[in-house]
């Protein structure tokens, strides 16, 4: 299962990267969404999958899955939610001010003096 998941995560990262390299701001943000999904899945996978019951002591199981990765993912999910929300609103505002969602037209001033 872990091996399958590794490939799934790889695909998620691949799609995310491809999207983040595109021009449209929306696609970029979608890319970051995929990226965080991939990262979260990776934590879970790295903690080891299906090693026991859900980490609820009420289950009275002989063994439980590692709760740490789950707690980490939870924190990470919340944080990436905050970031995504912020990013989305930023995109919205940027569109209002700059009138475009094309990254090519949001060129910075680094090049020209």
């Amino acid at each position: 299962m872990e091996i399958l998941m590794a490939f799934v995560i790889g695909i998620l990262f691949m799609s995310a990267t491809y999207l983040m390299l595109s021009k449209s701001l929306l696609r970029i943000i979608v890319g970051t969404g995929l990226l965080s999904h991939g990262a979260h899945m990776l934590i879970l996978t790295m903690g080891g999958l299906k090693k026991g019951a859900a980490p609820l002591l009420g289950e009275n199981a002989p063994s439980y899955t590692d709760p740490i990765p789950q707690a980490l993912i939870l924190t990470a999910i919340v944080i990436s939610f905050g970031v995504t929300a912020f990013f989305l609103v930023l995109a919205y505002r940027a569109y209002q001010e700059l009138g475009t969602d094309n990254m090519d037209r949001m060129r910075g001033t680094e090049g020209n003096d």
Binding site: T17, L26, P67, I79, F81, V83, G99
Partner: protein
């Protein structure tokens, strides 16, 4: 902190008071507040003569950063004292001169004297520190005070140019010297010069010896304007003339000489030292004097002349180093070069200082320094003319001035090279006297140009800005004093031989138990040197008279090859090239930056994986796969990949949602109920936010073209592959049990909960959670502020 330290620091202290004095007493020329200090210091240092003339030294230490071996150790020995006297003595004269030279109503005297005092203190620090780091500190101080003084009239383009140039070159040298100092520290474990000298035998064989030598020499050469670093000095002439007289002829440029002299006992063992110093010195001598002839600006002539004279002193020090290789120094047969170096150092300060002041007077009284416009000033300013004659004749090496004596000794030193049989001097050594002689001819010529083109010939009043007249007496005092020194030393050289020269020589070439006893003779008999001098004079007069005829020789040296051009274009090209280069990769497109970042990610990690043979694939510890899970995996993969190809925004958002929900299903499968719950809710909110945020975007006029880009595809596949590969090998490399068991045991017992994940979140790792919600809170604040606060009017989206 001793009186000696106080003496070194006193200029800095006074520098703090100068602006205050300037504010309070506007009517009095600020120079008068400064003037007493160098006098006082001069007389203070005179009191050390009794000690150093016995070739003893005084060391006073003051802890600064002892843990790093950096102590402010002040050491007065012959060499240091000689320089200290020069600095304070000439300093006093220059301050006096400046009082008349700079108008108290027109100039910003406060800054001027602050810089000047900073310089004076720094210079004293350089010559009196025994600790290399302290020396370096003061060294950089001199560079910067010089920078500030050259840029004193900062509204002038040329001043700024000259200031920048001098700073770049001297700081370059300074840094390289610092490198050398650190290398020396690594060999000896100390920054103290005396201790390094004491270990000179050990370090000679050290592998870092040569690099250290080169680094230190680079510092000395740049500071003392040795070829090819001399180019900053002529441009430094943009400084007010008193500054030129002080910094750029008498003192600061001699810091390099000082350094070479000071470090001679450490490095002189090595042939490289001799060859580099003597070679660069003689080249500089030649090139400087040769270039001086073609100059038309009085101060430019003097600048090149300074360059050449510095080269001369440098070459003498180089040759003098050879003396260390001979068994006996008794007969001072070979040490004459060093004696000459020290002697000429003093002489140069006197005559060049006075000449600069003369040039300043001419400039001040006529408004120009261009010798093509000047001429016939003899009648208007007789005293100045006399002073100029004394200075230039001494410079040209004519009797009975001091310059003649040192020039003779210089020839002696150079001729004796022929008798040396070390370091291949027997094969190439003949070049030294030859070049020396040729350079002397040019020296003679430019000296003549300097005095005769200015003071004799046709008077051209129409070319001058002012009606020339003799300078005020105050302005003449300083050059008169210097000129009289030129004569006095010329006639009675031995008043300084055993008080100043021998002690200095002892510091340069310390030989245990040997007491230098220098005597300078006016008449040596009919030696080769005398004939050389005679030749110089004869040929010099001849060439001076026929100057217009052969001047075109200088056209053979195209401007393009000039070092200045090289410097300018290097500066220009480096800026332009870096600008173009930067613009090439900093193109403002975030995509480009991401390409760099991801490429590095791929390359670095792939290389590490391969080089470290880190990829490991181990299926012994994997969970079972169920077909439903495969199905889910396929869904997630299909959804994420198809986002790449969909055209409508809505669809890609929905697909992202699909991925998110599938992830939460995975969380269900992998026994993570809390995660599943959270992921579900978060995903829903995210999707609705996506819709909200992109609702405002206009309908795409033409559907977004998703052009397939090979680079993008390659990079994304690479990233995916790397992530997968590391995941596989990280999973196959589980080396330790997780710390999870602790939570299983303690969740109920110690934290009174049953949901481990939740208990971890609020208790075990509650700290994380606290800041996680802080992040959320900040995000909300930011979103609120972003929407409400619009400093640029915030026009609404017109497509709405």
């Amino acid at each position: 902190m001793s009186l000696l330290h106080l003496a070194i620091i006193s200029p800095f202290l006074l520098a703090i008071l100068v602006p205050i004095a300037y504010k309070l007493f506007r009517q009095i020329h600020t120079g008068w507040f400064v003037f007493p200090l160098p006098i006082l210091l001069f007389s203070y240092f005179i009191s050390y003569l009794s000690i150093t003339s016995n070739q003893q030294s005084v060391t006073k230490s003051f802890a600064w950063i002892p843990t790093l071996g950096i102590d402010f150790t002040a050491k007065v020995d012959g060499l240091g004292l000689l320089f200290a006297l020069l600095i304070t003595g000439i300093g006093a004269l220059v301050v006096l001169y400046s009082i008349y030279y700079l108008d108290k109503n027109k100039e910003k005297l406060n800054t001027f004297y602050v810089y000047l005092l900073l310089f004076m203190g720094a210079m004293l620090g350089v010559v009196l520190s025994d600790n290399l780091i302290v020396l370096y500190t003061f060294w950089e101080f001199t560079s910067f005070s010089s920078f500030l003084l050259i840029g004193y009239w900062y509204h002038r383009e040329k001043s700024r140019y000259g200031a920048q140039k001098s700073m770049i070159i001297t700081v370059f040298g300074g840094l390289s010297m610092l490198g050398g100092i650190i290398l020396l520290y690594m060999m000896t474990g100390t920054f103290s010069i005396s201790e390094i000298i004491a270990q000179s035998d050990e370090i000679f064989s050290h592998v870092l010896f040569v690099p250290a030598l080169l680094c230190i020499l680079l510092g000395a050469f740049t500071k003392s304007a040795q070829f090819p670093f001399h180019i900053w000095l002529p441009d430094a002439m943009e400084a007010p003339t008193p500054v030129s007289a002080y910094l750029h002829s008498a003192t600061m440029v001699k810091a390099g000489i000082y350094l070479v002299a000071r470090m001679s006992p450490v490095f002189a063992e090595h042939s490289l030292w001799l060859w580099l110093i003597a070679g660069f010195g003689i080249t500089t001598l030649f090139w400087g004097s040769f270039s001086a002839v073609k100059q038309t600006d009085l101060k430019a002539i003097l600048a090149f002349s300074t360059v050449s004279q510095l080269g001369m002193i440098m070459s003498l020090l180089g040759i003098g180093a050879a003396a260390l290789h001979f068994e006996t120094v008794d007969d001072s047969y070979f040490t004459v070069a060093t004696t000459a170096a020290v002697f000429h150092l003093i002489n140069h300060a006197t005559f060049k200082g006075s000449l600069f002041m003369v040039a300043g007077i001419v400039d001040h009284e006529t408004g120009t320094r261009d010798i093509r416009k000047l001429g016939g000033l003899m009648n208007f300013m007789p005293i100045t003319f006399t002073l100029a004659i004394i200075g230039t004749f001494s410079m040209a090496g004519l009797p009975p001035f001091n310059g003649f004596l040192s020039k003779e000794m210089f020839f002696t030193g150079m001729v004796r090279v022929l008798e040396m049989d070390i370091f291949n001097l027997d094969t190439w050594g003949f070049l030294f006297p030859v070049l020396a002689w040729v350079a002397s001819v040019f020296t003679f010529i430019y000296s003549m140009i300097l005095v005769f083109k200015t003071f004799t010939g046709k008077f051209q009043p129409e070319q001058l800005e002012k009606k020339p007249h003799e300078a005020p007496i105050g302005m003449l005092i300083s050059p008169i004093i210097l000129a009289s020194l030129v004569i006095i030393i010329g006639f009675f050289p031995n008043i300084i031989s055993n008080t100043l020269i021998s002690p200095a020589q002892a510091a340069i070439m310390p030989v245990e138990g040997y007491v230098y006893d220098t005597h300078i003779y006016f008449w040596h008999g009919f030696t080769p040197e005398l004939f050389m001098t005679l030749g110089v004079i004869t040929l010099g007069i001849l060439l001076f008279v026929t100057l217009p005829k052969w001047r075109s020789v200088y056209n053979l040296f195209p401007e393009k090859l000039a070092l200045n051009r090289f410097y300018d274009s290097m500066l220009e090209v480096s800026q332009r090239a870096s600008f173009n280069l930067t613009r090439l990769y900093m193109n403002g497109f975030i995509r480009t930056y991401l390409v760099y970042i991801f490429s590095f990610f791929i390359v670095a990690l792939a290389a590490t994986l391969v080089l470290k043979d880190a990829f490991k694939f181990d299926t012994s510890d994997v969970a079972t796969i169920h077909y439903a899970e495969v199905l889910l995996a396929l869904v997630i993969a299909a959804a994420s990949v198809s986002i790449l190809f969909v055209k409508s925004r809505m669809t890609s958002i929905i697909l992202l949602g699909a991925v998110g929900y599938t992830v939460s299903l995975f969380f269900v499968i992998f026994r993570a109920p809390d995660l599943a719950l959270t992921q579900l809710v978060i995903e829903t909110i995210s999707v609705s936010l996506f819709l909200l945020a992109f609702y405002h975007l206009p309908k795409l006029r033409h559907e977004e073209r998703i052009r397939f880009k090979m680079t993008n595809a390659l990079i994304s596949v690479g990233v995916g592959a790397i992530v997968t590969m590391i995941a596989l090998s990280a999973h196959s490399n589980k080396m330790f049990p997780s710390i999870a068991q602790y939570y299983v045991e303690n969740t109920y017992k110690e934290a009174a909960g049953k949901n481990m994940v939740n208990v971890i979140l609020v208790d075990f790792r509650g700290f994380d959670t606290m800041f996680e919600i802080t992040v959320l809170g900040i995000a909300a604040l930011g979103i609120f502020a972003m929407i409400k606060l619009r400093l640029e009017g915030g026009k609404k989206n017109e497509n709405k």
